[in-house]
């Protein structure tokens, strides 16, 4: 993603959206047996030559996973956990240049435009294929300044103390069933450390690709932004379309120290047979800013509610999310903000579009703890429904334990009206162009917050969705 901006040939719209829908023939190094049990978990840990603390953490998490019931809210999760492959190692080493990456996998990322984007506007890249990160780079000057950008497996080996201090503390395995599952079988993901005062100008990007059928991808990301530092991390996700379901269940933990800024952008365009059940949470300290920008276009079911816990005065949390659901898709997405300290500030803007029988839900929590005086929160969620078959729901939860606060919530649901379409058509636009223009206007307030490359990419993906070529 992020680079191929050439317009799709009109006759081949299906081919264009299916740019992501290709299968790479690989010679995997190791594929764990189908299903999950303590033996498979121990085997993954062994393959990775992990320290005992991590192996114990995995086995403990597996017990928690097994003891927790499936969530009874959100979407319909039709997964048989014993049908899934939990670990697939595609290659025995990680490339430092693209030439080090096995040709067929490099070819995959070429098609997705990653090396090209890297040359143009990225400070560092991680590319994950199935369970492992197969390529990693970081600009030399950043490495010299002490920036760490590596896959989490390497981080466990090379920066064990730092990882151990935070790993699983922001999202413990007890948090929810899928966080427990990830904690047991996690593999890959990014580890980032930005030292005090270091501001990284260009984004660091990770790209997640599921290639095999009935594969589970469980990356684990930990981002530590030290005092006064700044980073923008971007992730993209795609997979080919199979007739059976695959599972993507990530855990992302972020720590934003005093005066630091972290922006985390996701453009999720999974194939429509993927269950995308992700837990993302940040803790933000004094006068820091955490921003989640979350674009959900693909997957069969997404359940994802990026969270910001504001721990000290002056901390800010912003969550901008766009969800687009078409036929056979359910986006149950939203945000959580928790004000734990006085004078903290949060803003949630959520925009959802439902089309061709798709279903979008906004589910969000705004919590202000006792004593968090002078805190402010504003939540705006707007839904646009394109046809009578589609559906939109809003589930806002507001828990305020303090009097002296300002909490605002606005929600709107609109349908593309015949009058709007007629107006645009009377100016020579076709019906499809008119709908597309109304949709792009609807998401414009969010798109303009994105860096240009990602804004262009997001607009393009939404245009493709609008062409109705997604089954």
């Amino acid at each position: 993603m992020a680079t191929d901006l050439a317009p799709a040939p009109a006759s081949d719209a299906l081919g264009e959206i299916n740019k992501y829908n290709f299968v790479t023939q690989t010679h995997g190094i190791f594929k764990a047996q189908r299903g999950i049990n303590s033996q498979i978990v121990a085997e993954i840990s062994e393959m990775k030559r992990e320290p005992k603390w991590m192996r114990d953490f995995r086995l403990r998490s597996l017990k928690i996973f097994e003891s927790k019931p499936m969530p009874r809210w959100g979407g319909d999760i039709g997964i048989n956990f014993q049908d899934i492959f939990y670990y697939l190692k595609p290659t025995d080493h990680q490339g430092k240049t693209w030439d080090d990456v096995p040709a067929e996998i490099k070819d995959t990322f070429d098609k997705l435009g990653i090396p090209e984007a890297e040359k143009k506007y990225l400070a560092g890249v991680k590319a994950q294929f199935e369970s492992e990160v197969v390529y990693g780079s970081l600009q030399e000057d950043l490495a010299k300044k002490g920036v760490i950008f590596t896959d989490t497996d390497t981080a466990v080996r090379e920066h064990g103390d730092l990882v151990r201090e935070y790993f699983g503390t922001i999202i413990p395995p007890e948090d929810n069933k899928f966080a427990a599952l990830n904690s047991a079988v996690w593999s890959g993901g990014s580890f980032i450390y930005v030292p005090k005062g270091v501001k990284i100008e260009f984004p660091l990007q990770a790209y997640f690709r599921i290639n095999a059928e009935q594969m589970g991808q469980f990356e684990r990301t930990l981002i530590l932004v030290d005092e006064g530092a700044e980073v923008h991390y971007v992730e993209g996700c795609t997979a080919p379309m199979y007739t059976t379901e695959s599972l993507h269940s990530a855990v992302v933990e972020v720590v934003v120290r005093r005066g630091a800024r972290c922006r985390y952008t996701t453009i999720q365009n999974w194939a429509n047979n993927i269950y995308n059940l992700v837990t993302k949470r940040a803790v933000a300290y004094g006068d820091s800013l955490m921003e989640w920008i979350d674009g959900n276009l693909g997957s069969r079911l997404t359940m994802k509610y990026p969270a910001v816990y504001m721990m000290e005065p002056g901390a800010r949390g912003e969550i901008l999310s766009i969800a687009f659901s078409s036929k056979g898709q359910h986006q149950d997405a939203g945000a959580k903000v928790v004000h734990c300290a006085p004078h903290t500030k949060s803003r949630i803007i959520s925009k959802s579009i439902s089309k061709n029988g798709g279903r979008s839900s906004y589910r969000g929590l705004c919590k202000v703890q006792d004593g968090a005086v002078g805190s402010k929160s504003s939540v705006v969620c707007d839904a646009l429904i394109l046809d009578p078959q589609s559906r939109s729901d809003t589930y806002p939860y507001i828990e305020v334990e303090e009097q002296d606060v300002q909490v605002e919530h606005e929600a709107s649901v609109s349908r593309i009206g015949e009058e709007q379409l007629f107006y645009l058509q009377s100016r020579g636009l076709t019906g499809a162009e008119a709908s597309s223009m109304i949709v792009s206007g609807f998401i414009e307030p969010l798109i303009k917050e994105l860096p240009m490359e990602y804004a262009v990419e997001m607009n393009r993906l939404i245009e493709l969705q609008m062409e109705g070529s997604v089954g």
Binding site: A8, Y423, G428, M437, F442
Partner: protein, 279 residues
């Protein structure tokens, strides 16, 4: 040969309710027509039906552009064939900038064969033209960056409609109460602008204009060659400019008295409008 827009025995229903009962009118390029009539007589219905609003069903008669019946065409095709409607109440399209919208619209109308995704007219060329037209209409440049009709005042909306007409250069333009909600100065500017745009030649001919209005000011610079009076969904009288003058000074009493059957239909339609909101 002069191009014509011909309305022949047009019957139109909305949600199964007949509104127009046989309208006849012929507009040639270069002519200005005024359409007057009491509220609810069917003027806006005629305008929407000519433009091709999907809720307005033509049950009998035809709308002919140069002899070709366009009454089955959708609004997109009619716009690309050179028909334009300045809306009485234009729709807001939040998040879409005037300039982007107009660039799409202008490209499509000037190149009716354009397929989706094909090139738009070059940015530089478009910007220059838009800037010129906006300055003629005394509009601030900032206007191009605002979202289409979103939070516009009544006057801004109407000026934006005239700007669109100037950019799209239609063969036939219908202006539906473009003067309503405007103060005296704004009406004067609108009147002058319409006259100026209408006189511009395209393919050797001026625009054919149909002005729907209750007032005289819009007609100051646009002296109608024909004035039509609509009552109860039909055109009951057609005259010259003197008929327009009579109506905006004397009102419709004489017309109603002279056409008692149409006046009765008008009463009936008014009762329907009160319950359904359709007119």
């Amino acid at each position: 040969m002069t191009e014509t827009l011909k309305i022949k025995n047009l019957h139109v229903s909305v949600e199964g309710k007949p509104i127009l009962h046989g309208v006849n009118m012929t507009i040639r390029r270069g002519e200005t027509h005024a359409l007057m009539g009491p509220n609810g007589s069917g003027k806006s219905t005629l305008a929407s039906a000519i433009m091709g609003h999907p809720s307005f069903e033509v049950t009998e008669g035809s709308i002919e552009l140069n002899g070709q019946d366009v009454s089955e065409w959708d609004a997109t095709e009619r716009a690309r064939a050179g028909i334009f409607l300045a809306f009485q109440r234009p729709m807001a399209i939040p998040g879409v900038k005037m300039a982007d919208f107009l660039r799409h619209a202008t490209t499509n109308v000037r190149n009716p064969e354009r397929k989706e995704g094909e090139q738009l007219i070059p940015m530089r060329e478009f910007r220059k033209e838009l800037k010129d037209k906006m300055s003629q209409l005394r509009m601030d440049e900032e206007f191009a960056r605002r979202y289409v009709n979103d939070g516009f005042s009544g006057g801004e909306m109407k000026r934006a409609e005239i700007l669109q007409m100037a950019m799209l250069r239609p063969k036939f333009a219908i202006l539906d109460e473009t003067d309503s909600g405007l103060d005296v100065d704004a009406v004067k500017l609108a009147s002058q602008s319409i006259a100026q745009i209408g006189r511009e030649q395209l393919g050797g001919e001026q625009m054919g204009i149909l002005i729907i209005t209750h007032h005289d000011k819009l007609l100051d610079n646009n002296t109608p060659d024909f004035t039509h009076v609509m009552l109860g969904g039909r055109i009951v009288e057609t005259g010259g400019v003197e008929l327009a003058r009579e109506l905006y000074t004397e009102g419709y009493d004489r017309i109603r008295a002279a056409h008692p059957e149409d006046a009765a239909v008008e009463q009936e339609m008014a009762a329907n409008t009160a319950t359904s909101g359709v007119a």
